[in-house]
Amino acid sequence: MLTYTIRRLILAVPTLLFIALVIFLLLELAPGDPMAEMPLTIPPEVKEKMREALGLGQPWYVRFYLWLYQFFIVEPQYWIDGLFGTNFADGAQRIISFQSRSPVFNTIAERIPQTLWVVGMSYVVGVIIALPIGIISAVRQYSWFDNFGTFISMVGFSVPTFFTGVLLIVIFSVNLGWFPSIYDTTLKVNDWPSFVKQLKQMAMPVFVLALYNAAQISRFMRASMLDNLGQDYVRTARAKGMTEKVVVLKHVLRNSLIPVVTVIALGVPQVFGGAIITEQVFKVNGLGQLLIIAIHGNDVPMVLTLTFIFAVLIVVFNLIADILYGVLDPRIRYD
């Protein structure tokens, strides 16, 4: 297992470099100019200077190399310096956003908490409610519970989140006034009332996203349970005199969770990608929203860095999913 993991990690390096190159070239080829929003009154020579300052004067491969160097060497150095008070970075040039002129990683670090709180929480909540719903729906297939669950999950993934989001805002914020309609990023949780406030402002976006996540995962759990409930070993367990509880929650569940856990792991990178639309609707300024703004502003370093981070997460969680599969299923051997 360890050798397998190491081999996969080593293999991931060329993959990721290639992905980085593709993203870079795509952004390079895309029309758009970071200077586009500069006032027209700025003389061309000054504009040219500004271009140079942004590093746009050099050929693309130099810039690509520079970005790679900054991403893999300089930024980690700054990170370590920040943690331990060392001075590895020694004032080296960081990846700078075209828009804010500040290091992109600073902006990302500011945005991550919102994304993790809202989107991450919704994923956790979604998984926690999806698993029991999936299990019960399968055990009581075609019961009213199952039919109701089917209906809710249909709603969950066929009605877009911008619709459910706006609907909730209209009902619970505008009409009932229970929850704020805009997420206040500046809120600091340091006592009970502020914690309640945080919960309140998280409630609706978390609910919208959790519904969406739970819809998919519960269907998956249900299908996997049904698949296993029909297996011969279930009959064996019953013939051994095991109670239904043991049969379902031990024999069947243990098998059914294998693919579900994999799917859950594969879904984690999406959390970091943020839920772009939901973040827009509720004005949560997380990573998703950051990406949108960066794209609008032709902020190539920001877009490149964010997209690449998502790519890394996807590759990493793919590996984690595979490893989990091997851990959970004794039939899988990776050597």
């Binding site: 011969d232 051994k240 243990r254």
Partner: protein, 333 residues
Amino acid sequence: MHDGGRPVLEVQGLKTVFRVRGGEIHAVNDVSFDLKPGELLGVVGESGSGKSVTMMSLLGLLPSPPAEVRDGKVLLDGQDLLKTDEDTLRDIRGGKVGFIFQDPMTSLNPVFTVGYQIMEPLRKHMGMDKKAAKARAVELLELVGIPGAAQRLSDYPHQFSGGMRQRVMIAIALACDPKVLIADEPTTALDVTIQAQIIELMKELRQKLGMAVIWITHDLGVIAGIADRVMVMYGGQVVEHAPVRELFGNPQHPYTKALLKTVPSVRGERVRRLTIIEGQPPILGAPPSACPFRDRCGSAVDECARRNPSRTAIGKGHDVACVLVEQKEAAHA
């Protein structure tokens, strides 16, 4: 060893139906039989004749819905299993009555160790602690002839070959010293040589442990070698029932005769499914009002379509459900 004594198991008038869309399937129709202590009862019949459903009905192992055991009595040591509660039934399953199923590749849970799966019934039915259960599990694996038993407890099913897995299944079924062992085509999924080994093992275990066995199979050749009595099923009912020698020497039901013709001539030849008789077995939408075999029977007469013949005794322990046999018996009397 196996005549005298009260039967351990007595089944009377068992009826099982499946409620399906657009009606019912009458899978078991008025099946009666008994099983004496230490005896081996062979059950033969082609696919769909209701063998498995009959045995699963005894202990409430059929999914309900769609299955419904509609009528009958299942007396195990005098206790009617169709009238007991689920808890009592669970204690009997894997306790007094052990099961072995056809496909050892899928009958074991792939994600639990073999040791765990053997210890499960021991802990539940015998109240053993972990240590005692483990010791007993090793004993059981040795009993069914798995080399290096102690080390193999922590292995997973996929680390065993098909034959070895079936041995594990047998160990599980025997774990709590059952009085009755129900083996539903235990060798059908195995290679011929492995099949012979498992049959040998079962013979040996029966000598040693003395439990009564119900052995379901397609293979009359197997039955001839191990059964004391044989019950032939067709269309969810028992069409002929006799001691093994009598059945092979003096078959009376046209279906049994046809079956005997299809027995593979060379012993040990790969089992052929009994489909050499022309036509398909019936799927009954209603309790049969005629002989279920009449469409495929070479000797059918008019009366066969008018009523369903009941089992008529024609000799010691030999009975047949066929209009022709009834008529012959009536003529004799």
